[in-house]
């Protein structure tokens, strides 16, 4: 009888629910959020961060980038470089989400459609400007004025669509949209995704994201930038150095050397919750550029400076307020002036500003900084030029080319722009989820999300 009671007690004990950890099963799908509607999946016209995340999950580019930003095979198993020409050999086992095999003709069609469509993504059109696309012996051949090494890295941002169907990709996750929710289900793919998929909900508000993270409704999310905010139990922080900076331009002579002096001690330790650190050089060090100091001498001290910035950009606003406090110690009054975002960029485009500050996200390669110096480039807002610029540009074939040093010295002597802060991304991630951080973000590397896994 006693033995029976012991046995019954043991059964009862086993029937009781275990600790909370054991009760919560490992989720199959990663719950995520979009800040804005990515619009329909479109590998030709789609633009913007959310659309590019969708494309990275639902599409494959010819090459991918690993966490260090080096090109690795993706749709192309191999490539060869002959001068400025790139020749890609495509893998045989890649299939679109509708089951059709990926052919070299699809890759060529995608690249040509981007070049020929006026409403195509401006980012991709800039990558493929003046590039000729051809097919030779079953390979895809690209030739153009850019150094092949640069074009190769940039092609990682151009996923391939099926010929005639700009919304159909061959990526590791099959997309579907229902109302305001995007689901991406893992499929049979050569990268062999290890998670079941994603569910992205539209959560435009920082506070909404924070609440959803705290209640366990999201497994991955970016919390608001607050100094003392800590992840709740079950989530941990993931820091990623980014190829992004808060940059200042001034069309007024002699302002940037003063700004360079003030930025050295304007930002206190732990500024913006550790998401930023003061920039040391002129070009992003994450892209492999050395920390350069402006060598231009300090000129006459300006009495007052009006700095325009995009309204609602809290980070830039706080940075300018810190800079203002520092400049005041030298008797200079900085007046930060918020301008509605589209009006601000219209002012930049038409060069109607005196001093302006905004966040810049660089492409993941050293040549990205040429947007500062090339004539008519989008970030050459002050008309920067140099008599020897064409010579240097022609000699920047590799990231190690000696011409880089000469160009850097010329830029340091008279910079056209000055970075204030280097940005770090801070993401909260579920403790049970293993992700792969990188300066490119969580989604834009290879294998990227296919390498994520749930920990048991």
């Amino acid at each position: 009888m006693r033995r029976l009671r012991t046995l019954l007690g043991l059964c009862l004990l086993l029937a009781l629910p275990g600790p909370a950890e054991a009760q919560s099963p490992v989720p199959r799908v990663v719950e995520e959020s979009f800040q804005r509607d990515p619009g329909p999946l479109d590998f030709i016209r789609g633009e913007g961060l959310e659309q590019f995340i969708l494309q990275a999950l639902a599409g494959d580019a010819l090459v991918g980038l690993d966490v260090q930003g080096r090109p690795v095979p993706r749709l192309a198993t191999s490539w060869t470089i002959h001068g400025h020409a790139l020749r890609f050999r495509l893998r045989k086992d890649a299939r679109f989400t509708d089951g059709r095999p990926v052919r070299p003709e699809d890759a060529a069609w995608t690249l040509r459609a981007i070049q020929a469509t006026r409403e195509a993504s401006p980012t991709k059109r800039a990558i493929l400007a003046n590039v000729t696309v051809s097919l030779a012996g079953g390979d895809v051949v690209l030739d153009g004025p850019k150094p092949a090494a640069r074009l190769l890295v940039e092609l990682a941002r151009v996923p391939v669509a099926r010929e005639g169907a700009p919304g159909v990709g061959s990526g590791p996750f099959a997309p579907a949209r229902k109302g305001t929710t995007w689901t991406l289900a893992a499929r049979d793919h050569f990268l062999q995704p290890r998670i079941a998929g994603f569910r992205f909900r539209l959560l435009a508000d920082d506070l909404g994201v924070l609440e959803a993270l705290q209640k366990g409704w999201l497994h991955v999310g970016v919390p608001p930038a607050r100094r003392d905010l800590r992840p709740p139990p079950g989530l941990h922080e993931v820091h990623q150095a980014m190829h992004a900076q808060a940059v200042l331009w001034s069309r007024r002579k002699g302002v940037l050397p003063w700004m360079a002096r003030w930025r050295e001690d304007a930002f206190p330790q732990g500024f913006l919750g550790g998401r930023v650190r003061p920039s040391r050089g002129l070009w992003p060090e994450t892209l492999g550029h050395p920390p350069m100091r402006p060598t231009a001498p300090l000129g006459a001290r300006p009495a007052r400076l009006e700095v325009h910035y995009p309204a609602l950009d809290d980070m830039v606003q706080k940075a300018l307020m810190a800079l203002r406090a520092r400049a005041a110690r030298d008797g200079v009054e900085i007046e930060p002036r918020p301008v509605e975002t589209a009006l601000f960029y219209a002012q930049l485009g038409e060069r109607r500003f005196e001093t302006a500050c905004t966040v810049v996200l660089f492409d993941p390669h050293p040549w990205a900084v040429l947007d500062y110096v090339e004539p008519e480039a989008p970030m050459n807002l002050t008309g920067w030029t140099h008599p020897r610029l064409p010579t240097w540009l022609a000699r920047l074939e590799t990231p190690e080319a000696p011409a880089w040093r000469e160009l850097q010295e010329a830029w340091a002597a008279d910079p056209g722009a000055l970075p204030l802060l280097d940005l770090t991304s801070l993401t909260w991630v579920d403790d049970r989820l293993e992700v792969q951080p990188s300066p490119l973000g969580l989604y834009f590397t290879t294998p990227g999300p296919c390498g994520w896994r749930w920990l048991r």
Binding site: R36, D37, G39, P40, D42, R45, G46, E47, G48, E119, P122, T123, G179, T180, R201, L202, L203, A204, D205, L207, G208, E211, A212, K215, G216, W217, E340, T341, A342, L343, Y345, A346, L348, G349, P378
Partner: protein
């Protein structure tokens, strides 16, 4: 008729602003798809709001304007209702959706609409209040019937577009978010269609022959 001409002039000015809105993005974004799925919930929410506001205004009457309860209810900022619903929702229920948004919208906008109606109602003292409730209730109903089209014409565009904050907080892609997103990406064609649609609603809701009354 004058009122209608003035109203149309305002809508024409709004159309001109939408058409020639200045500004550009550094990298142009395509306009977002229109949230067709939000039309029915928005219509239902506005219908419910209309009904509840009229019922409350009829029950409360002009006295609502002096009510402390209404003043307290109105004092709470709209986003706080959204935050409260979000915070009080149990985690196990999952993320909020259209139902929570409708509740937040009703609780946030009802007091303002009841006040609008109550202030527009004709005074009831000394008459018809002196004749008793049996006569003052139909008097109030009649006044509300005449007031409702004006009220709808004045407030409908506001309800349809001013729910942006609650939509952002509560994860609902609605008409307010659509309007704001089009302003952000400078979708001038989409904004013009919005203004035309709102002008059409205003024309439908505004009473005809106002000058004859």
């Amino acid at each position: 008729m004058n009122g209608r001409v003035q109203g149309l002039a305002v809508w024409a000015a709004a159309l001109a602003v939408a058409r020639w809105l200045p500004g550009a993005l550094w990298k142009p974004l395509p306009p977002p798809p229109f949230p067709w799925e939000a039309l029915v919930p928005s219509g239902l929410a506005v219908g419910l709001l209309t009904l509840l506001a009229l019922v409350l205004a009829r029950a409360w009457g002009p006295a609502a304007t002096r009510s402390t309860l209404l003043r307290l209810w109105e004092a709470v900022p709209d986003p706080l209702w959204g935050v409260a619903i979000l915070a009080l929702r149990p985690a196990s229920w999952g993320p909020p959706g259209v139902g929570a948004w409708t509740a937040a919208l009703l609780v946030a906008t009802l007091p303002g609409e009841v006040r609008w109606l109550a202030q527009a109602l004709p005074a009831e003292h000394p008459f018809p209040a002196a004749w008793g409730r049996a006569l003052s209730a139909p008097w109030r109903s009649g006044a509300l019937r005449r007031l409702a089209p004006d009220w709808l014409a004045a407030r409908l565009p506001l309800w349809l577009t001013a729910t942006l904050v609650l939509e952002r907080l509560l994860n609902v892609r609605g008409l307010g978010s659509d309007w704001a997103a089009r302003v952000e990406v400078r979708d001038r064609d989409g904004l013009s269609l919005w203004v035309l649609a709102l002008a059409g609603l205003w024309l439908l809701a505004s009473p005809r022959g106002r000058s004859a009354r």
